[in-house]
Symmetry: C2
Subunit: 349 residues, 2 copies
């Protein structure tokens, strides 16, 4: 089947571009001896995770336990969950998962590490726990090397936990000083920072400029999107995922309405103008989204598309888009090769 025969809206992935994206980042990180642990939040598809591992990734990163469960079920055996796992239900699931795969996690508080230690009591597991620190995003993470060192000591002290290093998002110029200062505090105590896990697709290409970072987590690079193009992750031609949509209405000469709204393209602007780039009409602006309609100003083009014409959209934020689809269609040279269920979609817990 040709992609032209697919009904819209549909998310299609060019498999050749996908494979090249996976290889390109792997080669880059290999070149600098940085371990690659891609974040599956972008694709949520076990088959793509296997492609990343087959290309050289050490394992994967999942943000949610439910995503990790789907990936473990699909045979992936090295999973990092850089999230504070809290509460009895999730801790018990973490224990079960740790019996099936090599799981590591992060923490940024005593509360989190106490819970992790307690649930692992009576098992033979030594759960690797990395301390999350804040590199300026103001999200999670300890605020100072002193806090990091104290939490590392608590992890080292508590039964069934293993202090495995430091983690942050994103990698940037603050990481080096923070890591060096933390090591200075821990080394006299005999505590080793085995790994430093950094992240971000834009930062991935500069990963070598942060020599303290031993492992990198990138997610979005695998598909690419307009935000990534703006921030140097990839070129437009390297965007693997696109949305095919149909013009369903042309109420005025300049306005066209697409069958793709916020439930397809998401409302994430990522600081960009509009809600995606229409490949065939690059000067058109998707200026507004209703839930099931994309509102487009085609007036910059001499000819607006006719009703029934199909267009190809590169989204602003591909992670949010793939999370809205139940399946993704993989094609090669426009021939449909595979339909992947987005198996870890909606695994919110």
């Amino acid at each position: 089947m040709d992609i032209e025969q697919l009904d819209t809206p549909v998310a299609i992935v060019d498999l050749e571009v996908l494979e090249e994206n996976i290889l390109r980042l792997q080669r880059h990180l290999d070149k600098f001896g940085i371990i690659n642990r891609p974040h599956i939040k972008t694709h949520k598809i076990p088959e793509i995770a296997h492609m990343q591992i087959n290309a050289g990734a050490v394992g994967i990163t999942c943000q949610k336990l439910g995503e990790a469960e789907v990936m473990a079920q699909a045979g992936i055996d090295d999973i990092f969950i850089p999230y504070n796992i809290i509460g009895r239900s999730k801790l018990e699931r973490l224990l079960n998962l740790s019996n099936r795969a090599k799981i590591s996690v992060t923490a940024d508080s005593d509360f989190t590490v106490q819970g992790l230690s307690q649930v692992m009591q009576g098992t033979g597991i030594e759960l690797p726990v990395l301390v999350e620190f804040d590199s300026g995003l103001n999200r999670c993470g300890v605020q100072s090397p002193q806090e990091a060192a104290e939490l590392a000591q608590l992890i080292d002290h508590l039964p069934r936990l293993h202090f495995a290093g430091l983690m942050t998002y994103p990698s940037n110029e603050t990481v080096g000083p923070f890591v060096r200062e933390t090591k200075k505090l821990l080394e006299p105590l005999g505590l080793k920072v085995e790994k430093v896990s950094g992240g971000g697709s834009p930062a991935a290409w500069q990963a070598q400029t942060f020599p303290e970072v031993t492992e990198h987590r990138a997610g979005m690079y695998v598909y690419g999107d307009l935000y990534g193009v703006k921030h140097g992750v990839s070129m437009l031609t390297q965007c693997a995922l696109k949305v095919l949509a149909t013009v369903v209405s042309r109420p005025t000469s300049g306005r066209g309405i697409l069958d793709a709204g916020s439930k397809v393209l998401s409302s994430d602007t990522m600081g960009l103008d509009g809600f995606g780039l229409i490949v065939e009409y690059p000067d058109a602006i998707i200026y507004q989204l209703s839930e099931e309609h994309g509102h487009v100003d085609f007036s910059a083009h001499p000819r607006a598309p006719a009703i029934g014409e199909r267009v190809t959209i590169i989204p602003n934020h591909v992670c949010a888009v793939s999370n809205l689809f139940n399946e993704i269609v993989g094609h090669r040279n426009n021939r449909v090769e595979v339909v992947w269920p987005v198996a870890a979609r909606g695994m919110l817990r």
Copy 2:
């Protein structure tokens, strides 16, 4: 089970509030003799659609054919799809659906109605088609009564189609003049505007002020949200759907991080500040969302919640939130009574 035992993030619906919301709107529309045809885009759950019909709704509204298929499969037999249905695949599905249930649609172009007529050739179906007109949203819809009248005549003229009236979104003060002018053009031709379908939850409570509107489509009223509270749809206590989340990090004294980000609360601000109201901390501001983290400023409160504490969030835009969950938990007085799959979620085509 008590809702306190549910793991987070989870979307819960207070069944008593839900039932009251359904009844309240039904009573209001009944009082003024306006037909109620609720839009299921908000809940996407067949069981709730049945509740709406049992309360007096004539049928339902779906925005996508795939949603209508799920609802028809669940036994709902009167479905309005106010969307331009275009392309062979969708037209064939529409034909199949029309053999199973009473289906009506809209169109705003010759292209759409020609397709509808062609696919119905050789059947005994007389597909009811309403003409969509633009009441100021600048989305789909013909732009003038003249265009509406011309399209109505084409529908009347084409085989297997029945001109069934006019449709717009939202209902407002422009509807009356538009409808009256269109009727003036059609009546001399012997063409009757049998129904006028208006829509919108905010407009639902003023539906009686648009006497030309014979039928109303409201979606969001069923759950309610902050946008609805701001626009008079319901009071805060009438918001049926809430998201339970857990504080997973407290990096600073004023900042708390929740396990609910844009993949739970959606990025829709709807023009409001922040991304939802935390019931227990009404002066806190969910000022930013990452995909799996909600960033909250609790500094307006003397005490910020501890790590592990659970909070209850009323979202800005409930239609987008329920679209992100695979299931919704219904409770009565905090006791879990039912777990509904969001069966029509992700039916994008």
